[in-house]
C-alpha cells in the first residue's frame, strides 16, 4: 500500500465510536458487565467493549479491489492500520465520555437511562476519569489491533486463533447448558466451569482454546484430499450414509434426556420455527414469492387445531363453547388442519397471482395483518375468543406421552413433524415440481413460455408452504395449551423470514441453523431476551454484508451471487484493460470505441 489511508481510518473510527456509544446507550454494556465468560476478568461486557473497534478494524483492513485485482494488506501494516482505526474509535468514544462527564451523568440519565457512573467505571476499567479516558483509548487500540490481526495475519496463524477464540466465547456463553449436560453424563463440571462465576475457569478456557485451535490445525493439515475422501465415502457408500443418518437420529432422540426440561422447551420452540422456516422456504426460497404475511398460516393452524380438538373460549363470565367446534383426536385433526391450510394458501395465493416482487410483499403483509387483527377482534370473538383467546387445546396424549405439560415429550412430537417437513421439502426440491419452481424463480415469463403453468406452481407453493406453516401453528397450540392474539403478530412473519434468510434461501440445513441461531440462542441465554430484536437486526445486516448467500447456502443461490461478482470482476478488469489499451493507442485518451461490439 502507498500512503496511509488517513481519511478512511478516521471515517471507520467514527463509525466504530458511534456503534460503541449506541451499544452503551441501549444498556448492553451494563447488562453484560457481570456475565463472566472466562475467569473473573473476561466478561461478555468487556468482549463487547472491544468489539466495535475490532469489527471496524477488521472491515478497514479488508483487501482492496483496485482495477479488478484484490490487494490485501500485509500483516504488519494490517495490524498497524487496525490499531490506528482502534485509536480513532477510542478517541471518539473518549471524547463522548468526557463530554458526558462534564455535562453531568445525572442529567443525561434522564433521557438515556443506561448512562450511569458504573457504566463509565466499566468503560474505563474502574480508573478515575482523566486517566480513565486513556485506559479507554488503549483498550480500543488493542481491539483495533486484534481486528487487523484477525484479517491480515497469515492463514496458518489467524484461522486456528480465530476458531479457538470463537470456541471459547461460544462455550462461555453456553455456561447454563454444558455443565448440565456434563453432570447428566456423570462427569463433574467444576474444572471447566467455575461454580463461583458460572463462566469458564482459566484452565477450561485455555483447554477449549487449545482444542479449537488444534482441531483447526489438524483439519488444515489433513488437507483437501482427506476431506474429500470423507465426503465421497459418505456420499457414495449407502451403508455409510445410512449409518450417518441413524447416528444423527439417535443423537436427536437422546438430546432432550441429556438437556433437561428447560433446554428441551427452547428446542421445542426452535422446531416450531424450523417448521415455519421450511414452509416459508418453499414459498420464498423455492418459488421466489416474497410472503410477508406468513403469520396468517401460523394463526390459522393454531386456532383451527384448537377448535377441532375441543378448545373452549375464555370469556369474562367463564368458559364458553365456540360457535364452531369439534372434539376429535389430535392425530386426525392435524391432517385436517394441514389440508385446510393448503386451501387457505390457495385463497391467499389467488388474488396475488399477478403481483411480483415488492407488490406481492406488500399485499401479503396486509393479508397477514388482517389475520392477526382478526384474532383479536370482537367480531371473531364467538368463533375464536377474541382478546381473551382460546383455552383447553388438546394435550395429544398417546402412549403415556403428554405433549403439553412435558417439554421433553413435546420435543419428540415437534421432531417428528420437522423430520416429515424436511423430507417433503427435500423430495420436492429434487423433482419435476422443484425444477418448475426454480425455473419460475429465475425467470417467470420464460418459464411460462417453456410450458410451465406459473399460475399452477405459484398456487402450489402457497398451498404447500401454508400447510407446513399451519402445522407449526398447530404444534404451538398443543405445546402451550391456550391461545391469545399476542402470539400471532407480524413479528412471527418477520422472524420466520429472518430464519430463512439467515440460513440461506432455498437451503434446508440453512433453515435449521437459522432457527437455532435466531430462536435457540436468545432462548438459551435469557439475558439476551430483551435485545432479541436488536440481535435479529444486527445479525441480518451482518449476514447481508458478509455472507449474502446465508450461513449454509443453497448451492444454486450461492451461484447467483458468485455470478454477479464474477461478472463484476470481469467487467472491472476488462474496463481497466481496455482503458489502458485505448489510452496507449489513442494519445487523446479513451475515446475510440467500437460500437458494433456493444450490440
Amino acid at each position: 500500500m502507498g500512503a496511509l489511508p488517513v481519511r478512511s481510518i478516521v471515517r471507520a473510527g467514527l463509525a466504530g465510536s458511534v456503534v460503541s456509544m449506541y451499544v452503551a446507550l441501549v444498556g448492553l454494556y451494563s447488562k453484560f458487565a457481570d456475565l463472566e465468560l472466562v475467569g473473573e476478568q473476561v466478561t461478555l461486557g468487556r468482549v463487547l467493549l472491544l468489539a466495535p473497534a475490532t469489527v471496524v478494524a477488521y472491515a478497514m483492513t479488508r483487501p482492496r479491489i483496485v482495477a479488478g485485482e484484490r490487494r490485501p494488506f500485509a500483516f504488519g501494516s494490517g495490524v498497524a492500520v487496525g490499531a490506528l482505526t482502534g485509536l480513532a474509535t477510542g478517541v471518539g468514544v473518549a471524547v463522548a465520555v468526557g463530554v458526558a462527564d462534564w455535562f453531568g451523568v445525572e442529567r443525561i440519565r434522564e433521557v438515556f437511562i443506561a448512562v450511569s457512573e458504573p457504566l463509565i467505571d466499566f468503560m474505563t476499567l474502574g480508573t478515575a476519569l482523566p486517566a480513565g479516558l486513556l485506559v479507554l483509548v488503549a483498550l480500543s487500540v488493542a481491539g483495533g489491533a486484534i481486528g487487523g490481526f484477525a484479517r491480515t495475519a497469515p492463514d496458518e496463524v489467524r484461522k486456528p486463533t480465530s476458531v479457538g477464540v470463537l470456541a471459547v466465547i461460544v462455550l462461555g456463553l453456553l455456561q447454563r447448558i454444558v455443565p448440565i449436560v456434563l453432570v447428566q453424563l456423570g462427569y463433574t463440571a467444576d474444572w471447566l466451569y467455575s461454580p463461583v462465576t458460572e463462566g469458564l475457569t482459566w484452565l477450561g478456557g485455555a483447554l477449549i482454546f487449545a482444542v479449537g485451535a488444534g482441531a483447526n490445525v489438524l483439519w488444515r493439515r489433513a488437507g483437501s484430499s482427506a476431506r474429500e475422501r470423507v465426503q465421497s465415502r459418505v456420499a457414495e457408500q449407502p451403508a455409510a450414509k445410512l449409518g450417518l443418518v441413524l447416528a444423527i437420529l439417535a443423537a436427536l432422540l437422546v438430546l432432550p434426556l441429556l438437556l433437561g426440561e428447560v433446554i428441551s422447551e427452547v428446542l421445542g420452540t426452535v422446531m416450531i420455527y424450523v417448521l415455519l422456516g421450511l414452509g416459508l422456504n418453499i414459498v420464498v426460497g423455492y418459488a421466489g414469492l416474497l410472503d410477508l404475511g406468513y403469520v396468517a398460516f401460523y394463526a390459522f393452524g393454531a386456532y383451527t387445531l384448537g377448535l377441532l380438538t375441543g378448545g373452549f373460549l375464555n370469556t369474562t363470565t367463564g368458559a364458553a363453547e365456540p360457535a364452531l367446534s369439534a372434539d376429535i383426536s389430535f392425530y386426525v385433526a392435524i391432517w385436517i388442519v394441514a389440508i385446510m391450510a393448503a386451501g387457505v394458501g390457495l385463497l391467499i395465493g389467488a388474488p396475488v397471482l399477478r403481483l411480483r416482487g415488492d407488490y406481492l410483499a406488500i399485499v401479503t403483509l396486509g393479508l397477514g395483518e388482517i389475520v392477526s387483527v382478526m384474532t383479536a377482534s370482537k367480531w371473531a370473538q364467538p368463533l375464536i375468543g377474541g382478546p381473551q383467546g382460546l383455552r383447553g387445546v388438546t394435550k395429544a396424549e398417546i402412549f403415556g406421552f403428554n405433549f403439553q405439560d412435558n417439554p421433553q415429550h413435546f420435543y419428540y412430537l415437534a421432531l417428528a413433524f420437522v423430520l416429515l417437513a424436511l423430507f417433503v421439502s427435500w423430495r420436492l426440491s429434487a423433482s419435476r415440481v422443484g425444477r418448475a419452481w426454480n425455473a419460475m424463480r429465475e425467470d417467470e415469463q420464460v418459464a411460462d413460455a417453456m410450458g410451465i403453468s406459473t399460475i399452477r406452481y405459484k398456487l402450489l407453493a402457497f398451498a404447500i408452504g401454508g400447510a407446513i406453516g399451519s402445522v407449526g401453528g398447530a404444534l404451538f397450540a398443543v405445546g402451550i395449551g391456550s391461545l391469545t392474539p399476542a402470539s400471532f403478530e407480524i413479528l412471527v412473519s418477520i422472524t420466520a423470514l429472518a430464519v430463512v434468510i439467515l440460513g440461506g434461501l432455498g437451503s434446508l440445513p440453512g433453515v435449521v441453523v437459522g432457527a437455532l441461531v435466531l430462536i435457540g440462542m436468545p432462548g438459551l441465554l435469557r439475558e439476551f431476551e430483551e435485545y432479541r430484536l436488536l440481535i435479529y437486526g444486527g445479525a441480518l445486516v451482518a449476514i447481508m454484508i458478509l455472507r449474502p448467500q446465508g450461513l449454509v447456502p443453497n448451492i444454486r443461490r450461492s451461484r447467483e451471487l458468485e455470478e454477479e461478482e464474477a461478472s463484476q470482476d470481469a467487467w472491472a478488469k476488462s474496463a481497466a484493460g481496455e482503458a489502458e489499451a485505448v489510452a496507449a493507442v489513442v494519445p487523446g485518451g479513451p475515446l475510440g470505441g467500437e460500437p458494433e461490439d456493444l450490440e
Binding site: 419435476r432 418448475a436 429465475e442 425467470d443 411460462d448 444454486r556
Partner: protein
Amino acid sequence: MSEPVHMLELSGVAKHFGGLYALSGLDMYVDEGEIVSVIGPNGAGKSTMFNVVTGLYGPDDGDVRFRGDSIVGLAPNRITRLGISRTFQTVHLFPNMTILENAMVGQHCRSRSGVFGSVLRLPSTRREEERIRSKAKESLAFFGSRLAGYRQDQPAFALSYANRRRLEMARALATDPVLVMLDEPTAGMNPRETLELRDHIVRMRNELGLTVLVIEHDMRVVKGVSDRVMALDYGRKIAEGTYEEVANDPQVIEAYLGTKAAG
C-alpha cells in the same frame, strides 16, 4: 375440406403499444415441413409477431390459428404444450440451473408427476424422471459435443455466448414441438458458428421433422435454409417468395437502404 389448413396462420393481426403500431394487419402462414425466414429492418415487428404467436402478448386485432384452431388468449404454457416452441432474441436461460436442468425444464409440459408422486418417489415418477432426463440429453446431443459430457452439470451462466444460444435451442427442442420459432439464432455468433448453425436449422427439419420459423439478419443463413422468405416492415408484410425474389424486391431494398440511397 375445401382448402388445406396451414400449420400456423395469422390473419389481420395488429398490435400496438400506445401510438406505436408494431404490427398492423399482418397476414402470414407457415405450412407443415417448411423452413420460413422472416427478415426486415429493426423495429419491423418481427419479434412482436413471435410474442403474439407464443402468447406473451395478446393481439389487439386479428386471429392466430394453429392447425386450424385459434390460439389467441391462451397462456404461453398452453401454446407450448400445443407444440409451438421458441427462443428469444436476447438469450433467456435459467442461468443458475445446470445445462441439463435447463433442457429438462423443456420436458415439463410433456410430463405430469405432481407433489405426491415427487414426495413418495413412486415408480411411475421415477420412470418419468428418467424419461425426462434422457429426452433432455437427446436434445442436447442434437448439437453434438458442444453441450455434452461434463458440461451438463455446469450452471448455464458458465457457457460461452454461442453455447447459450445452442442451449436455448436445445431447451426449445426438448418441449417436443412441431413448430420451432427461432429469434435471430445467429446473433453474436462468429462466421464459423453461423455456418454450423445453418446446418442445424436444416437438420431440425430434415432429421427431426420440425417446421421452422426463423427471424434472421444474416443473409447467407436466410439464403441457405429458407424454403420461403417473408419481409416485414412497419408491421406489415412487404414481400414474400423465394430468397431471390425477396432479395430483389424493390420495396425490400428500399426498406433496408432507404429511398434516396437507391437513386
